[in-house]
């Protein structure tokens, strides 16, 4: 049964984000022939509309007000709520991003409906919308249905593929007007002092744990990431390694750190405690290198090498370099 789906788009670098394109493709299958609407809010909304149509949108709710670029939840919620009111969608999709985490619950509670946060799957199942999400630190998966409408979900990056852009696609554009007044004052922004790829966006993450033995071990982790390519791979660490002061907290993967979903996650000397798996179990593929063949990480890994990382990692660096 056809239904309209609204995607809350996000902008970066003058274009829609890759996650927005993924959500538009997911929305297309959820809509089953209904409209795929998207909100584009921010200074570059007008320029980004063409990419949104190319990625599968049939209708754009747009405002080029630069105020939206600051991401104030009250302004975003008002604009998204206006689009929901006009389109009356059966499903509203957000990215699991700072905006999604702030605004999706606002819309859910404002409209007396419900939201499932941090989903890795959304699908129509016999005419009913189902959202699948990890819980209990990634130990379990929960599948939810909704007794109210619209069903709202925030979706993790890379849970869906984006469609190949349809050149020349176009559709209706509705102007949402200027942002409403806000009582949130932005005082400042301090850029993180991390160089290179963001962990959440890198296709490959090489992570080290307590089994490395000391901070020096991370030089080998960095060398392996470098071998994969500095444009593709970055490094991460388990909480145990961070707690020992071997690697910066900003690099921690896990329940109390960052959640990463790379194509390839290489876990070196990481045992795979629940709270660590919460941060990496969404990876497309996990490769584990560990001395202990009983280590929990091997339960989730696709490939494993049982051995001493000190011997395996240098050999792997050489083999990866040779393969290029």
């Amino acid at each position: 049964m056809a239904q309209d789906v609204l995607v809350v788009g996000e902008l970066a670098g003058g274009d829609i984000t890759s996650t927005t394109a993924e959500l538009l493709n997911a929305a297309k299958s959820l809509a089953e022939g209904g409209a795929v609407a998207v909100t584009l809010l921010g200074a570059t909304a007008g320029a980004a509309a063409a990419s949104a149509f190319a990625a599968g949108a049939t209708k754009v709710f747009s405002s080029g007000d630069a105020a939206y670029d600051d991401g104030r939840a009250d302004q975003w919620a008002a604009a998204v709520d206006a689009a929901v009111g006009q389109q009356n969608p059966g499903v509203v999709l957000f990215a699991q991003s700072p905006i999604g985490r702030d605004v999706a619950p606002r819309i859910a509670f404002r409209r007396n409906t419900a939201v499932a946060m941090d989903c890795v799957g959304v699908a129509m199942d016999g005419g009913s919308f189902k959202a699948t999400r990890p819980c209990y630190g990634g130990n379990a998966l929960a599948v939810y249905s909704f007794a109210s409408s619209p069903a709202i979900a925030t979706v993790r990056a890379k849970s869906f593929d984006a469609a190949a852009p349809a050149a020349g696609a176009s559709g209706e554009t509705v102007d949402l007007g200027a942002a409403s007044a806000s009582s949130i004052e932005i005082v400042g922004m301090e850029a993180a002092v991390s160089t290179g790829l963001k962990m959440e966006e890198a296709p490959i993450v090489v992570a080290g744990g307590r089994g490395l033995g000391d901070a020096e071990g991370f030089r080998e982790i960095e060398a392996l990431a470098e071998a994969f390519g500095s444009d593709k791979a970055t490094t991460g660490a388990s909480r145990a390694a961070v707690d020992l002061g071997w690697y910066p907290p900003a690099k921690q993967v896990g329940l109390t750190g960052k959640v990463v979903t790379p194509d390839l996650y290489v876990a070196v000397a990481i045992s795979g405690a629940s709270q660590h798996m919460a941060g990496c179990s969404g990876s497309k593929m996990i490769v584990a290198i560990n001395r202990d063949k009983e280590a929990n990480i091997f339960k989730t890994a696709k490939y494993g090498i049982v051995g001493d990382w000190k011997a395996v990692v240098p050999a792997l660096i050489a083999a990866v370099k040779a393969a290029k």
Binding site: K130, V143, S145, L264, K293, A315, A319
Partner: protein
Amino acid sequence: MHFVVCAKQIPDPETPPSAFRVNEQTNEVIPAQGIAPVLSQFDAIAAEAALRIKEAGSDVKITVVSMGKESAAAAIKQVLAMGADEGLLLDDDAFQGGDWNGTVKVLSAAIQKLGNVDAVFCGRQAADWDMGQTGVGIAETLGWQAAIIAKDVKVEGDKMVVQRVLPDGFQTVKLPLPSVVTVSNELGEPRYPKLAQIMQAAKKTVTKWSAADLGLDAGAVGASGAQLKLERLFIPQAGGNVIIIEGETPQEQAQNLVNALQADKVL
């Protein structure tokens, strides 16, 4: 000023994966034997944020609020031992089996009944369901602003100044009080109560309120008020089929792994 810290008692997230079990008939987690439930760690960090403001010299009363069964009093006691002043347990059979709508209704009603609350501190998510919507839900219900995923919280006059963790850095925002803040682990380690504080906490008041005390219709909360229906809860069966890469030497193992990754088009 009056701060509320929302606290939840949860199964210990450090439970080894091998001891984690789910009843797939009832969609419930089976408590691991011999592993006591704990205060959700993000809620301890939220309490830490509130306590730091109190210690910085502000005249602050901190009330810790938990919705849960009688056993959740342990989570309340822990925050009292950390330094909170009073506890409030929201316990009613009508609250059971609810979704986040129910939780938010109950907590919001309690905050309204307490009256004159200047700020509500929540963890960025509860470390059991990992949902992360309760804090914003309370703010929306009460018509307040919220700052989510905070690493630092201060009060300046009638404003709350919050440093938020974003993927590319830290954003500082100023919100009018009353507001909600959800606190993340970047704030730092929560304090560990000393024995004397634990003894003192035992003497602090824990009030109990039911649905009737909050003026809530039992049909609007708990299972009967739920809009999010848990259809299925299961442990993903990713495990057990790891392919161990063999080789006579580390070099051979490494080469065989690279071959496998190339065959899978990951490299």
